[in-house]
């Protein structure tokens, strides 16, 4: 595929887009991992939400 004389700019633009999208995906995944980790840590220490402690009560 011939991108013409300005190929560098086309590749540059697409690279930036890929970078930004990748960064967004990474942010979401890393944040997810961190929150899950914190929640399981807290649960391990016995600190849970009321609704999880008494399953017979419905939110």
């Amino acid at each position: 595929m011939d991108l013409g004389p300005h190929a560098a700019f086309i590749i540059g633009a697409y690279s930036v887009a890929i970078l930004i999208v990748a960064a967004l995906i990474a942010w979401v995944l890393i944040d997810q991992r961190r929150q899950r980790q914190l929640l399981s840590d807290l649960e391990a220490r016995g600190i849970t939400r009321r609704s999880e402690r008494s399953p017979e009560r419905h939110p």
Binding site: F9, I10, G12, Y14, V16, I25, Q32, Q35, I47, R49
Partner: protein
């Protein structure tokens, strides 16, 4: 299913957890189609292959405005209907909106260099997007500065709505200003009526980016719900430790 069912964060987590894999798959497929279309698209008679930058620049522009619209609806949810997930939706959308607006600016700049000979042009479109980007940064700053989540949500909601009211005014002002300061021939991006061979790839890429936003947004909302739970639990723990 009524909206109020979704108001329960736990229900939301369950439901969104089920939808998310499908959304992600759909996004990937859409991008696969989109890239294929872009590669096959014909070159513009004036710009050559450089016009291919349009297929990421224009969808980013669409999304930068759509996401502010999403945040505005969420803002109404917070202020008017007190929908519990509205805060979460607003906070999750902001970074994605800022990132895509930045993408719009950078790709526009890289498009401008071969086309207009300079990395930045103060034309109506790019300048409006720059102002929008600054407003996103303001929203992000406000989220970070107010500690208590509910208070932060309400403050950001007001700012978002004031911003939404201003966006058409800013767009109009900047367009007007740029025609005042520039001699006529501003390159029409894509031309007034787009040939299908250029329009179809654009629409597919647009769809792909929209699906990307929905996927990221949903995932980010789930993270935000978890983050708030962590905060609540830590506060409970601190309370217990203080002997309450």
């Amino acid at each position: 299913m009524p909206l109020i069912d979704l108001a329960n964060p736990s229900r939301f987590l369950t439901l969104s957890g089920r939808i998310l894999p499908w959304l992600s798959a759909a996004t990937l497929i859409a991008f696969a189609f989109g890239i294929a279309q872009v590669i096959g698209a014909p070159d513009d008679y004036q710009q050559g292959a450089t016009a291919k930058i349009m297929y990421i620049h224009v969808p980013s522009a669409w999304l930068s405005m759509f996401i502010w619209g999403t945040m505005s609806i969420a803002a109404l949810g917070t202020l008017v209907w007190r929908h519990p997930l509205a805060d979460v939706a607003a906070k999750a959308a902001a970074p994605i909106g800022a990132a895509l607006t930045l993408q719009c600016l950078v790709t526009g700049s890289l498009w401008g260099r071969p086309m207009w000979g300079t990395y930045w042009v103060w034309d109506g479109r790019l300048t409006s997007v720059l102002v929008l980007f600054l407003m996103y940064l303001g929203v992000l700053a406000l989220w970070r500065t107010i500690e208590e989540p509910a208070r932060a949500a309400r403050a950001v909601a007001v700012l978002t709505l004031v911003g939404a009211i201003n966006l058409p005014i800013i767009k109009f002002s900047v367009d007007w200003w740029s025609t005042l300061h520039q001699p006529s021939s501003v390159l029409r991006l894509g031309g007034p009526a787009m040939h299908p061979s250029i329009l179809v790839p654009l629409l597919v890429m647009g769809l792909a980016f929209f699906l990307l936003f929905f996927t990221l947004h949903l995932a980010a909302m789930r993270n935000e719900i978890m983050r708030r739970r962590v905060r609540t639990l830590m506060l409970m723990q601190a309370d217990a430790a203080a002997g309450h």
